[in-house]
Each structure stands twice: as structure tokens, then as C-alpha cells.
Symmetry: C2
Subunit: 194 residues, 2 copies
């Protein structure tokens, strides 16, 4: 679903109002029948011959994915990767806004990057009061678990973890770990030796 949403948002940005399952499939590199199957599962959004009305479909998928309300994000660990996340412009279309950035380096604390000022990780406890319940972890691997523990304590309910390690959290908290190397490891399969 997020993959479909991304494709639809891209088409909308480019002025498109409707799309056939075939064209969407081509853009995303998936099967058209899979798209029709997945969309039909959530109700009938398409019209034969016209395709799917992008605006309706987008708002339906956003609702399903609970992206129909704005959400504030905290980024913890403002090294190279954290800085790249802060500079990233793709969050807005999903209703995300980076509302806080944290580091433990005194040289970084107080500096402004984009719209947020880097705060001391000692301030993590303020997240609950500030209604921030989504966090991105971009700290070094050996600090990841301790950071996750503090975020859970601060009321965070979902974490996108960029540290190349598994972190353990209570069942009520959802973690998705992004491992760049693992994503890269998916490619050679498609590169048969010629």
C-alpha cells in the first residue's frame, strides 16, 4: 500500500487525475493484476476504461494507512545520516513534519538545521507533552538500544531505525529497521553472470 500511495502521489504531483492499473503497474514495476487485486480488497475504487481516480484513491489509502492526520516526528542522532534525514524533502506529502532533533554532542546542541534546533538528548522526556509519538533513530549502532529504550519511556509508539542492528521494544511499539546493506543485497539476484 505505501508503494502504491507513493506512485499515486507522484502522479498527482505531475498533474495526473486518473491512472489505469496497467500504467501504475509500469511506473512501480509490479503486476497490474496484483494492483487490481489489492485495490479491490479495500473496496472498488476504479472505473472500467477510465482507471482509478487518483485523488479519491489517494485519500482512501491515506485513511487505511492512518496517514490522514498530520504527525510530528523526532530525529535522534544528527550525524551524516541524521542531517540527511533533516534535509529530506519528501515527508510532507505523507503528512509528516520533523518537529524535533536530538543529539548528545555539545557542539551540535543549539544549532538550527532546517526548521528545528538540535536539542540535548536529555530533553527526550518532553516528547510526550509535545505530542510527538514517531521517531527516527540515526545514532551509531552501539547507542541504538539505549536510544530506543529512552524513546519508549518518552511515549514514542513507532520507530524507524537506521542503525544496522535489531532493537528490542515492548509489543505496543512498532519498529521498522532499515539496513542499507540489506537493501543492496537484494540487487545481485537480478545480475546473473553473463
Amino acid at each position: 500500500m505505501p508503494v502504491y500511495l507513493r506512485g499515486l502521489l507522484f502522479l498527482a504531483e505531475n498533474g495526473r487525475e486518473s491512472v489505469s492499473s496497467r500504467n501504475l503497474a509500469e511506473l512501480l514495476g509490479v503486476n497490474a493484476w496484483q494492483i487490481r487485486k489489492d485495490f479491490s480488497y479495500f473496496g472498488d475504487f476504479g472505473t472500467r476504461g477510465v482507471g482509478y481516480e487518483i485523488k479519491t484513491l489517494t485519500s482512501q489509502i491515506k485513511k487505511i494507512l492512518r496517514l490522514d492526520i498530520g504527525r510530528k516526528i523526532a530525529v535522534v542522532g544528527i550525524g551524516n545520516l541524521g542531517s540527511a534525514v533533516l534535509a529530506y524533502r519528501g515527508f510532507g506529502i505523507y503528512g509528516f513534519a520533523i518537529a524535533a532533533a536530538f543529539d548528545n554532542d555539545a557542539k551540535k546542541i543549539g544549532k538550527k538545521t532546517g526548521n528545528v534546533e538540535i536539542e540535548d538528548v536529555a530533553n527526550l522526556g518532553t516528547l510526550k507533552r509535545r505530542k510527538i509519538d514517531l521517531a527516527i533513530i540515526t545514532v551509531p549502532q552501539d547507542a541504538a538500544q539505549a536510544t530506543a529504550d529512552r524513546l519508549v519511556e518518552a511515549g514514542i509508539r513507532a520507530i524507524l531505525n537506521f542503525s544496522p542492528c535489531y532493537i528490542t521494544v515492548p509489543k505496543k511499539v512498532k519498529v521498522i529497521t532499515i539496513d542499507i546493506a540489506m537493501d543492496l543485497a537484494r540487487l545481485p539476484y537480478y545480475m546473473p553472470t553473463s
Copy 2:
């Protein structure tokens, strides 16, 4: 499969020699029956009561994913994200080695980061001769397609694209696009309003 491989490599690093489908499922947050099903599809790697022998299973999956040979990678665009990729330590266990880094900023060219010296993008044509056929794109969005075109011309066969846009390449080239915002967009689904 890459997800399983990652879990198995993690267990091996921590000194484990075998693992049950149940324990692996717990670590990865997937279903044990799914693991048994997927593994049986590629042959019978497990022993009842003992579980899977990690070393054997790892090398089998590496073979399937064509990760059983070392591969050299090029990184194009050494901003914050590119620097984070160069500093990333998780590539080695998949047989990857970053062998080249490129940027178009004269101030960056010639600087050494890790083991590689940043080269002028004008040198991209040398990749074929250097037997580098895998690339990571970390350039700004508006430079992504042009970069991809040059990489394809230079004989690159697979691209991990971190620019938040779709890039078009010939069929023989495989692209995986990583969109941080889309990964983040998968989380709210698991955060019902309480």
C-alpha cells in the same frame, strides 16, 4: 530472503551455530511457518529438533541471492547521505566493498573518506574497466535521472537509488529505490488512536 540472511548473519556474529524457525521468527518479527515454507522451497536445510544449521543455510541463501562472490560498489553523490553510506560498516558481511566515490563538487574531489578517494563524476566512464557494476545514487533529486543515465552508459547493472524520485533505466538494469518517507509512512498503520 535478504531479511532471513540478515537475521542469520546477526546470529552467526553472536556465536550461534543453529536456530529454530521459531527463534528466527521471533528475532525477525515474522511467522515461523512462513520461514519453514520459504526455506523448504529452496531445499531442506533444517533438522527436526535441532533447527537450521546457520553456516550451511547462510551459504545456501548467499548462493541463491548471488552474494557468494565479492562485489565492488560505487557511490555517487557525497553529501550527507553519501557520506553516511561511505561510513556504513554493514556492507562487508554481504561481500560488498565500496570501491569508488564520485561527486561533482571541486571542493570534495580528491578528499579521502574511509578507503576511497572522491573522484570527479567525469570519471564514471572508468567503472566498466574497474569491474564495478553496482552503484548507489545519493545525489539530489533533480540530478538523479542524469546520474542513472551515465551509470547505465558506464556498464552499471544494478542501482540502489536514494533520491526520492522514479528513475527510468533499460530493462537489463535493476533499480531499487529507497524512500525514507515511504518507509516512515508504513508506521502509523500500527499506531491506532487510543
